[in-house]
Symmetry: C2
Subunit: 317 residues, 2 copies
């Protein structure tokens, strides 16, 4: 493992997801052909906490300079498959409120036939993150990685509505599901968030992380999972600098959350709570620049400084 950074064996995480080129417009400007994709944002965010190993597919237009962005952060890129054709390309724009991306186009290209292969060298990783891809592919990867201690999983409305049966199978195999408010309510068929959370937990995961965008995230635990206690936990966030581009915020959140978890020898509620704060921290950095710029140039010190600010944000004496 050429990029091991001296982490212990258990301190590594495999992420399976998209690598893409994005064309983005927001009230702060416009960029074209910048490096994006869930696996990219996740990897960069998690790289400040743990050894990251990425599984993805790219096309012939993916050059050494793109791979270099990941390598520079010590990310193991041996699981990035090259196929003939073009890399997944996504175009989106944000209106004034920045709350929702309007997709202008999605060219799946080589991603359309993505069949994730886990390199042999990745198999000793104890943590796994299944970014938003087709649920059956997620389940297959999870089954191949049978020795993992904890699996995190993302999904989206498209699969909740269109592949509910397959998603239900996947949910039985994962420990933590990370989705947003709307997805939670849709998956549960229930509008009250705490009740919806209980319904989702009954589908399989031991913990459900609901991402609230600029307001942080809440984690709900299944009874008895990761310790005791009946109440959920919330980590607040607050964008501190300009919000330039919300793309990748949720994937960066997942990277901070899962990255911190995979750096910890023990997984208990207190560790999951801290992970939730780190998720919010990485999400809040991600939106401060177009693409992955902000995520490329951080330090653990800057990250912990913001962790402290977010912690004090709700701390009563």
């Amino acid at each position: 493992m050429g990029k091991s950074k001296g982490y212990e064996k258990h301190m590594s995480i495999v992420v399976v997801g998209s690598v893409a080129f994005d064309d983005i417009e927001s009230p702060s400007g416009a960029v074209t052909g910048i490096l994006g994709g869930a696996a990219t944002y996740f990897s960069l965010a998690a790289s400040y906490f743990t050894q990251v190993r990425v599984v993805a597919v790219v096309g012939e237009d993916f050059g050494a300079e793109h791979e270099g962005v990941l390598k520079k952060r010590g990310v193991d890129t041996r699981g990035i498959e090259r196929e003939s054709g073009k890399t997944f390309r996504w175009g989106g724009s944000y209106a004034e409120n920045l709350n929702e991306a309007k997709t202008t186009y999605t060219d799946l290209n080589v991603f359309e036939k993505f069949h994730p292969e886990i390199p042999k060298e990745y198999e000793d990783s104890e943590f796994l993150f299944l970014a938003n891809i087709q649920p059956t592919l997620q389940a297959n990867v999870r089954r191949k990685m049978n020795g993992v201690r904890l699996t995190g999983c993302d999904t989206m409305n498209y699969w909740i509505n269109g592949a509910r049966q397959e998603l239900a199978e996947t949910l039985k195999l994962v420990n933590v599901l990370l989705i947003n408010d709307t997805e939670t309510k849709m998956l549960a068929g229930e509008k009250n968030l705490p009740r919806a959370a209980q319904k989702v937990l009954a589908m399989g995961p031991q913990a459900l992380v609901i991402k609230h965008g600029e307001y942080g995230a809440t984690i709900f635990f299944r009874e008895g999972a990761f310790g005791v206690g009946r109440h959920p936990f919330r980590a607040p966030t607050l964008p501190l600098d300009e919000v330039k581009d919300p793309t990748g915020a949720g994937d960066s959140f997942a990277g901070g959350f899962m990255g911190y978890l995979s750096s910890q020898p023990e997984l208990n509620r207190e560790v999951l709570k801290r992970a939730l704060f780190y998720g919010g921290v990485m999400g809040s950095f991600a939106v401060e620049s177009f693409g992955t710029d902000r995520l490329q140039g951080l330090t653990r010190e800057k990250i912990d400084e913001r962790f402290q600010i977010f912690r004090e944000l709700t701390h009563l004496e």
Copy 2:
């Protein structure tokens, strides 16, 4: 003061605002002609913390049974003026997501010519809350209550857009402004929330409370106001039971916030932070029933129990 409940003189608050009858539809059902209005929700919520004195106007259709709802909670109703005509009536409905009320009609009736008069007996109150009414009326009341220690103020998009000059005058006279995210950004002409908050604070108030609906609220302080420190503070909330009717949540938040403040001998940042939590608690109770039902039957014990839950919701060890 017939309804003094034994509070000390300084422990009383005057609220000036609307008393109304509401017709409400939500996914949980429909009600007609129920008691509502900002001053009503505010008074009931604040009544668990302090002596409340209400200033409002009602019509001939406002009966003893309606006044009784307030009196039963010890609210001083001598400032409710009776005019010939009908009480302010509002009709609204909520769609599935419950986030925004769609107003079906607004019959101002006697409220159209509301000219708040402060009864002589109210003049020794040290706290004042100006609910959402025309900004110049707010300013006039504030000038009449010259001995107050702290004034809270609400407003809305209608005045921000249509009476900006008048509102600017009012903002110079108040200590704490309580508005939501959209109103903050609109008032400041700035989309980044922390920066928008600084712009609003420069208009006059020492503190700005931004209400985030189901996600709680954040308080921003002007440099040096109520103590030291450069960071904002957030109190999270989480609806614990069913959300039946969001009407009055913001006014109930203000009632909890201002009510708690006016029960405290000293006003420092720690007290304002606790007040923010109490605001969230009262808002979360308000939405659990149609109208004011839930707010009528609480106890301080139930309130403090939820305060503790919300406090632990974000508390890291």
